[in-house]
């Protein structure tokens, strides 16, 4: 990146130049890699604790890959491995097929498996329409008459699996997919989960946390569910006006002294919940209005920015925890929403530095080098010592697309709460990745292809009531 050149004078004592040149020689045709991504940070405390030991181990496994020193991997001119697109597609299609007995632990999260695979496939540009018919029968089978989707046939409806199933149906798209969903039952069920404190239970008798707030806001807005509460809702009895009432203040109570967001009030700030919080708020109102009104944004930005580590380049989920590829999405996807929260929607500032709160080069290097399974298995992973899985494949690729595209809010009409429009366009400055390694863009709030999100909203906006 451009901004690195100025620093060479300060950090580039001769020794480092020499070592960079040596790296350059062994990698043949690659350009030199900034030592920010290949060597330990400038300040390291000598005190050894469990945390520092784990961090050292992580560096040991990441550095060889970041230095482009693995001769089994194909690197481009920037020392970045290629995206193994075909292998990832094959891997994801397998996870939609029949799974062997050891997957029994995923029996309560099959809608998640479908969403992760379908979303990642769309990011990779693969055809997902061929799964439409099978998805429809699978979804119908997992829907409960009392509203919502469970993790499988005969399982209690759950907000997380409902979110995943609704998004899956949105990704394959089409009226027959949309019409699987029983919106009236969904409305009644959502009403029954709504709590007097504004939050949502994940399921009847289940936990209340900020995931529930996000998942509910997504489902309500995508399906154009009427906001009024059913008469038997516990929130209705407590005098709440509608499904959105108190939701923002619930999210507000989840911000911690560190600036980040926790799963529920009193807990520790965590990257995944930061995205849920910002995503939820961005659905309730235009980000530039609601986010500063609800959260301490400067503290949140500082905390989010601390999630990126050098030399790894990836994000961690909490202070003093290790980088993990999935936070490429959970933390990475916060940035466009933060950006949007800082000013009134306007024409997107094209490719200016203004758009980058975090180090895009570092994130892309981490994803392509450490977050990819370079074996024939394919798929994306937490870190090199971990196996790839569908969850990481979805969220690491989501992070990659957010690092490859400029996203900005362009319009927030007052009439509808859920229609902030987002402009997504590729960064046009010199890319670390080759053009053929660019992914499809994604919707910053709903984490599905933007066009698919627009289609489903248009469809259900034409259906007020049930």
């Amino acid at each position: 990146m451009e901004n690195r050149t100025a620093t060479t004078a300060d950090t580039g004592v001769d020794e480092e130049v020499v070592s960079q040149m040596a790296d350059y020689a062994t990698r043949g045709s690659c350009l030199p890699i900034d030592n920010l991504y290949t060597s330990e940070p400038p300040i390291v405390d000598p005190l050894v604790t469990a945390t520092s030991t784990a961090q050292d181990r992580t560096l040991d496994q990441c550095l060889p890959l970041l230095k482009a020193a693995d001769s089994n991997i194909e690197y481009n001119a920037n020392g970045v491995p290629r995206l193994h697109r075909e292998r990832h597609i094959k891997y994801l299609e397998q996870t939609l097929g029949n799974l062997p007995a050891p997957f029994v632990g995923a029996d309560a999260s099959r809608p998640w498996c479908m969403y992760w695979a379908l979303n990642a496939l769309s990011l990779l540009g693969a055809d997902v329409s061929k799964f439409r018919e099978n998805l429809i029968v699978t979804a119908a089978h997992m829907q409960n008459k009392t509203g919502g989707f469970g993790g499988g046939f005969g399982q209690t409806s759950h907000l997380a699996t409902t979110y995943a199933m609704v998004l899956s149906l949105v990704i394959v798209g089409g009226e027959s997919a949309y019409e699987v969903i029983d919106r009236h039952a969904m409305w009644k069920w959502l009403s029954s989960l709504k709590q007097p404190d504004g939050g949502f239970h994940m399921s009847l008798g289940g936990e209340v946390d900020v995931r529930g707030a996000y998942c509910a806001a997504v489902v309500i807005s995508l399906l154009n569910i009427p906001l009024n509460l059913s008469s038997d809702s516990p929130a209705s009895a407590a005098g709440l006006a509608d499904l959105h009432t108190g939701l923002a203040s619930y999210v507000q109570r989840c911000q911690t002294f560190e600036g980040g967001i926790s799963a529920k009030p009193d807990a520790e700030a965590h990257g995944a919940y930061a995205f849920c919080a910002l995503g939820c708020l961005s659905i309730l109102d235009a980000p530039h209005r609601i986010i500063p009104r609800t959260l301490d944004v400067p503290r949140l930005i500082s905390w989010l920015s601390s999630r990126q580590y050098a030399p790894e380049g990836g994000f961690s989920g909490r202070t003093n925890k290790l980088v993990d590829g999935c936070y490429s999405h959970w933390v990475g996807a916060c940035w466009p929403l933060i950006q949007a929260s800082l000013g009134a929607p306007s024409q997107p500032a094209q490719n200016s530095e203004f758009c980058s709160f975090y180090d895009r080069e570092g994130l892309i290097r981490y994803i392509m080098s450490c977050g990819q399974d370079h074996s024939s298995k394919g798929g994306m992973r937490d870190k090199p010592s971990h196996r790839s899985d569908a969850y990481h494949t979805c969220y690491v690729l989501s992070g990659l697309t957010s690092a490859q595209h400029v996203v900005s809010a362009v319009l927030a009409e007052e009439e509808y709460v859920a229609n902030t429009a987002w402009k997504v366009s590729p960064y046009s400055d010199p890319q670390l990745c080759d053009e053929q390694d660019r992914l499809n863009p994604t919707d910053p709030v709903y984490a599905v292809p933007q066009k698919k999100r627009e289609e489903v909203m248009t469809y259900f906006l034409s259906k007020p009531g049930f």
Partner: protein, 532 residues
Amino acid sequence: MPPKNNKGGAKAKELSEAKQENDNSRPQTVFERAQAAYDLTRPPYDKEREELGGLHALSTVEKTAYANWFCTGSDELSCLSKKAQKELWKQVNETNRPLRRGQIDQPKPDQWGKDKLGRNIGDYTVPQYEQRIEKQAQLTGLKALGRSFASKRLYASKGLVDSSTGERYILTEEDIQAERERRKEMAALKKDLYGEKMGSYSTDPEWDDIVPIPQMEPEGALAAIAYPEDYAESMSYLRAVMAANEYSPRCLKLTEHIISMNPAHYTVWLYRFANIQHLDIPLLDEIEWLNGVALDFLKNYQIWHHRQLLVEHYYPTISGSPDEVKRFAKSERAFVMEMFAEDAKNYHVWSYRQFLTRKLGMWENEEHGELDSIEGMIDEDVRNNSAWSHRFFLVFSNPRYATPESHATEPDAGVPADVVDREVAYAQAKIQLAPQNQSPWNYLRGVLVKGGRELGSVKGFVEQYVQNLGEAEKEEVHSSHALEQLADIYEEAGDKEKADLCWKRLGEKWDRIRFGYWEWKRRSMKTAAASS
């Protein structure tokens, strides 16, 4: 001598060969035995005729004998004259062969069918086959006993009277136990004989009244799992009892079984809790079981929600007794610490601990307070941010002085100054151990904000980690977090140039990965200055 020996040897060899031949000729398999029996019962010369390829191949004597035998069995015999008949019988007697008519059908090699492994039962050795027959007989006997058990249960349920004894039918615990044993035996026999797998529920008389609801996966279902049989059977019984809203000890056991196979199954956990509520299971029994499960499945989080529900459910029964609350708080803390020995940053265990602190009032000033334990954890690993986060909660949410709805990033006038002083000193002491550790820096800032203090109140402390900023060779920074804090201290004091220099140096050297953020800070301050 030698020849004699030789001769004797040859004789012995002949004998043994003959014996062997004899052994070989004895039927080994079931099919061979049947074939031998068939052969023994065949008409005279029938075997020879068949083997040689027809009647014409027999000798004249044999032909005559065969024809004679044929005649003895036919109606034509009466057409012969008495004399001719007499002559025929005479000849028949002279051949000295039995006059049987072949009552046994010729055996076919596959007529016994195949066993569970696809082996032809006709190829079984005779002892093997006999064993199999014996098992089949055993099974038949057990089935009969099972039927009489079923009738007895039916009669007992209808209150009928046994006419032979004049007493009511009663199903005793022994009867049930015997049936249970019987089904186990039957299951083993069925599996052994036919490879039929009988699940643990379908063989248990306790579950006889339940019609399981199997998972009928639609054709083409995505991400379909090839369930292990045990799991599939248990789930089909679970669906059935859930549909019937049954809450009973057997349901509790069923959930235990499923959880051991798939602890991430939230539906089972919720249903388990409903059972506990209905059956009023003692808290400590459930907790004891739960501890084992939690240690077996360290990453699982449903366990912790379940535990929270349990505590919510039982708290009212102990809330009247401070001693009991204290005892429970201590034992819960002991277990939570056991979990942290495995993973000191387990998010769900920490969330549970926060819940517990509020519920049982484990604040710093209480005898069973949390503060000592947390200090121990921070001493163990001063970089454990979860422990720091819990400490902040303990100190600043303490209902004794904290304002209930005070936001985490806002000052709270309720917090006493000595508490703020104490926490500032604590954070500073820990920063000294490892200045590049962000946890106590975040903590320190949080404390200052809560206490309504200026960041500048710790300027002297922060400055010791930053020397000669901006002076090329002489610049020394021992903590990028100190430098960040220093920037905010300068900004707070209106010293924009110095603040800007801190951010510039952070982006250039001391924390380059956050360059974009430092630049935004610099720009924001300039924009703010320009607009004011």
